[in-house]
């Protein structure tokens, strides 16, 4: 099993943390994991992304140009990464803010009204979690319990009360996947 995912959005949307949660979860499930941020001056202010690899075997390159899955939180990232999803792969994106559509037929495209639903949940920062929920429902590379466990590890104690909300967000996302 090898799953290579890119998370991309504006700086501040929390894409680096999303990736870390996945990496952490992979670790809990005894996978080999690798999390690689894009770094560079463009990070500042502009867009941010990170690549997470999950595998049963040692991970070769942390930097990739094609992905099994792209989780995309803003339009510039959609434009950059939509073409980089491998045939047969998954593209999940926030359809509330990203108004374009993918015309690729060789991948699974999940258009999730993430921002809208996050607002409904009362916390716009849940958007990423909603997309994650959709992605994991589509492609259950990790168990939801594990994600929750990982959240406990990754979130500072003072945010642990947010875990139920995160769980709800995951479920919300999952509900969009048949």
């Amino acid at each position: 099993m090898l799953e290579e995912i890119v998370f991309a959005g504006f700086g501040g949307q929390g894409v680096l943390s999303l990736g870390q949660i996945i990496a952490y979860s992979g670790m809990i499930e005894n996978r080999e994991v690798c999390w690689m941020p894009s770094y560079g001056p463009e990070m500042r202010g502009g867009t941010a992304n990170c690549i997470v690899s999950l595998s049963d075997e040692p991970i070769s390159s942390p930097i990739l140009s094609l992905f099994d899955t792209a989780v995309v939180l803003n339009q510039p990232s959609f434009e950059k990464f939509e073409p980089e999803v491998k045939p047969g792969g998954v593209l999940v994106y926030d359809a509330t803010n990203i108004k374009i559509k993918s015309d690729r037929t060789d991948i699974d495209v999940l258009e999730i009204p993430g921002s809208e639903k996050a607002n409904e949940l009362g916390n716009p920062r849940m958007m990423g979690m909603i997309l994650l929920g959709a992605y994991l429902a589509k492609k259950p590379v990790l168990k939801t319990e594990t994600i929750l466990k990982a959240l406990k590890k990754v979130l500072p104690e003072r945010y642990h009360h947010m875990i139920p909300l995160n769980q709800k967000a995951l479920e919300t996302g999952a509900s969009f996947v048949s």
């Binding site: 001056p41 463009e42 500042r44 202010g45």
Partner: protein, 257 residues
């Protein structure tokens, strides 16, 4: 949608200088580097010296200055801008040559080149943007970081015992007989921007005298690494930077010419 006002019967009284290339600068929103770039390019336009000005960019957030300033430029190694400028100026004594440097560049790794260019009285202008932080590398302590100010390499705030005092470069270089003009300005209010521009013009024009080095320190902000909004950062600058880095003229030997 904002309102629209007809421009009929209006005259343009300010626009972006033509010497600033038509590109979006990579600086963070509200960063003083943008204002300073603009001022330098305005004066190059106004003095009509685009054809015989050579700038030297530092390593720091303003490393790409040459992407924006429409003049011939060189990108110097971190801290070496004054040496590079010396090399240029010595070969072309009639050109306007300036460096544009951050506080890490000019006052940490490049202190030697700064001091010695000033001491030799190289006929160059040094534009020194002091934002009390290493902007480009993500907020490490600069030699000008204030006591108590946190940075990623002094997370609990700079402490005198461990890291010494913030260095006041204008005061220091004004001591050197090689400098003929030293002024500290800021760009966080319209009035100060006007003053900063005057200082920059004076500094550039002083090169014509061939009497020594001109040095303009611009107390500036770094909203991103200070972790403030631009407006907050300009206020913080007023309240914290200026008491330690007082604005004003530190030396003027251009006198009368």
């Amino acid at each position: 949608m904002g309102i629209t006002v007809s421009l009929e019967n209006m005259e343009k009284i300010y626009e972006r200088p033509k010497t600033l290339k038509d590109k979006v600068m990579h600086y963070c929103p509200g960063c003083g580097h943008g204002v300073t770039h603009r001022l330098v390019m305005e004066l190059v336009e106004e003095l009509g010296i685009q054809h015989n000005t050579v700038g030297v960019a530092p390593v720091g957030c303003s490393v790409f200055a040459y992407y924006y300033m429409d003049i011939d430029m060189q990108e110097a190694a971190h801290g070496r801008a004054c040496a590079v400028a010396t090399g240029i100026k010595r070969m072309m004594p009639d050109h306007y040559v300036f460096t544009y440097q951050g506080d890490g560049d000019l006052a940490a790794i490049g202190t030697n080149e700064t001091i010695h260019a000033c001491n030799r009285g190289e006929n160059i202008t040094i534009v020194f943007v002091n934002n009390a932080i290493y902007g480009m590398t993500g907020g490490q302590m600069a030699p000008t970081t204030l006591l108590g100010q946190p940075a990623t390499t002094c997370p609990l705030g700079r402490e005198q015992a461990a890291n010494g005092y913030p260095i006041r470069m204008s005061e220091l270089v004004a001591q050197l007989p090689g400098t003929i003009y030293v002024e500290r300005v800021a760009v966080n209010t319209p009035a100060r921007v006007r003053k900063a521009k005057k200082a920059l013009i004076k500094a550039f024009k002083s090169q014509e005298l061939k009497k020594g080095t001109s040095f303009v320190e611009i107390v500036s902000n770094c909203p991103s690494n200070w972790k403030m909004t631009p407006v907050e950062s300009n206020k913080w600058l007023d309240e914290n930077m200026l008491p330690y880095y007082p604005l004003g003229l530190y030396k003027d030997e251009i006198s009368g010419e």
